[in-house]
Symmetry: C2
Subunit: 390 residues, 2 copies
């Protein structure tokens, strides 16, 4: 179940020979058949953003998208005017096939930075995808497969609202994840009857609490894009609170799947910072800990090394997160191994056998809290990133 779970959407994923992996699907197309075509997007804040991001960000402001064309095997980032012209050519072809305007077609790319796309292959793939568009679950799965890069599994999520409206999403992402978004592309579809403004509001909050709080390797991408497209095909006007919650849940589930599939990872680490003075303070502390290579290596070695937790916590400036080190406690998997910046229960009491590791930090400084998610750092991560398309 993926982007075709909601009524009013067709999808396809095809092999166009762009990816270096033989036989891999690498072009996906998702089409919104309406009756409404509301859309919203959230994008990387990287100053070197890719051509497809420039194209899509510019045109989605109008609140409409009839389709999105996506490819893996090339990011079309740092490719100048020629790269922008490529994104435009993709949009124009899809628009022609669908009988709409290019401005109503969103474009996403993922892969190596700094190389133009093999445009003939991409356009050929777009035509093929158009020819294979279908409403069924298999078509949604094909699309989810086509956007994968170093992902080991396709990542999808669905929710159903009161009176039967539906939301479905797919995402790709595994490395270059953080601190804002990820090397990720995400398309969420819904048949709820909602406006572009409602889509943007739900997506902005949902993204902020999910994709913006995961960190696989501390690297921010040039291509991150999260799109929400509404067809209105269910005819259901959703309760706004419920709709926002369900979009947030889809974002969270997809974000968790990214971390769960973090490049080479053997543990997923959830870091919760409690009793901070503000949510931003809690987030800053959580992110500092999540960014520690030393901690991430220790976790991969099944070592709940709290010294590496507090030494990262100690790098957050006082004005960003006021707290007294002597009041800080750290629990790993429910065992308080640091109390008041001193050792408490023995580290050997912590069971590290499971993939999931929970780190709970209590600052004892206020009432706010926040959670962030990351992965451990393994030999396999280095292998993947030393040898990826080099």
């Amino acid at each position: 179940m993926s982007v075709t779970f909601a009524q009013g959407f067709r999808a396809a994923g095809v092999e166009a020979g762009i990816s270096a992996v033989a036989g891999k699907k690498d072009v996906a197309l998702v089409v919104n058949d309406g009756p409404i075509n509301a859309a919203a997007g959230v994008f990387t804040v990287n100053r070197f953003c890719a051509a497809p991001v420039q194209w899509t960000r510019e045109h989605i402001r109008a609140g409409r998208a009839d389709a999105v064309i996506l490819n893996s095997g090339g990011a079309n980032a740092c490719t100048g005017q020629e790269g922008y012209a490529q994104s435009q050519a993709e949009a124009e072809l899809v628009a022609e096939l669908l009988g709409t305007r290019a401005a109503n077609v969103a474009v996403c790319s993922t892969g190596l930075i700094g190389e133009l796309l093999p445009l003939d292959k991409v356009l050929h793939g777009a035509r093929e995808a158009y020819a294979h568009l279908a409403h069924d679950d298999a078509a949604g799965q094909d699309a989810a497969h086509a956007i994968m890069t170093t992902d080991t599994v396709p990542k999808t999520a669905v929710r159903e609202g009161t009176n039967g409206y539906r939301i479905g999403g797919m995402v790709k992402g595994s490395g270059m994840i953080a601190p804002q978004l990820a090397t990720m592309l995400c398309v969420i579809t819904t048949d709820a009857q909602v406006s572009a403004g409602q889509c943007q509001a739900a997506l902005s909050v949902g993204t902020d609490l999910s994709f913006n709080r995961i960190d696989v390797d501390g690297c921010m991408s040039t291509n991150d894009t999260v799109l929400l497209m509404a067809s209105g095909a269910s005819g259901v006007e959703p309760d706004p609170d419920e709709f926002n919650r369900l979009v947030r849940e889809i974002c969270s589930e997809l974000a968790a799947k990214i971390v769960g599939d973090g490049e080479g990872s053997s543990h997923t680490i959830e870091i919760t910072v409690r009793h901070a003075t503000t949510e931003d303070a809690a987030l800053a502390c959580g992110r500092a800990v999540a960014a520690s290579n030393l901690l991430k290596c220790a976790i991969s070695g099944n070592d709940p090394n709290w010294g590496r937790i507090v030494s990262s916590l100690g790098t957050v400036p006082m004005d960003v997160a006021p707290y007294d080190p002597e009041q800080v406690t750290v629990d790993v998997n429910g065992v308080r191994i640091c109390d008041g910046a001193k050792p408490a229960r023995d580290r050997s009491e912590v069971n590290m056998d499971q993939r999931q590791v929970t780190i709970e930090i209590d600052l004892n400084a206020g009432d706010a809290e926040a959670s962030v998610w990351t992965d451990d750092l393994t030999h396999e991560y280095v292998h993947i990133n030393a040898d990826y398309e080099s």
Copy 2:
């Protein structure tokens, strides 16, 4: 040649059974025999700073140190009042042996965070070291060996000034390096006739341009300490500019040796950012690039992946470093592979066979520049840090 290169200093390094590595020297003692005993220090800004840092920072303010006692095999960090009492006990014993006050004895520790020292062993080691104090080069080398942890080589540097005054130094550090100082201990000695104020001025600038600009893994330690001790034994009052320059050179050479011995590294990466609007802007850009795990993995795979350079550069906020992405050029080992945020010469032209990799980024935005140094990220780094004292 190490801390005993300068006249007026004795040193020793002995095995006290603190380190988990059998036969490894783990206690070092450096004694300043005067006639003057000026001293200055620079310390970690980590809010969870270790007991020996608290002790030494507090007492060196008076501008005097007659000796410094150092141990590897335990950081005495996050150990509360009991840890502080241990540092004090070390200082008191050394003071008693030397016939001075405890406040005149600096203390440094390095190793695992969150465990008290085996104090009996440390004090026994201090007595042994005192018994072995000597002026000769071998004694200085023993001290340099005794402070090593994951270092693969002892790291020392010397300089000689006009009229024959001398400066010598030793440092340990290999991982948990950055962004301010490193998991490092550094002792620099000089027989120049200089005041504590001159020492502090020379050391602060020297540290800022060297140890504060290296980044092995983005992790800031709880124990970093850099000490400069002056005996005045040469009787030479140095030219202030020359003295400052020589201290800076010693710091730079020792910092380069830390990066050259970065845990598991196969490449040393020098990142120079030119034509920034300010030095801080250049530094922020350099540090953002130096912190990229993805880039560091690519370099370990001999891949001059400039996409990972500019995507890191693009995370630096506009108000921190104003520049236009379209004006940015990137050279790796002298080959311009990115020009105006677009591909230029082919990546295959870059020779990555040497350990040294130079990355030159031109922002074309102003007149300031700065360099930072880091290492690549290898399987070996993960191995060392997943299995270190776990």
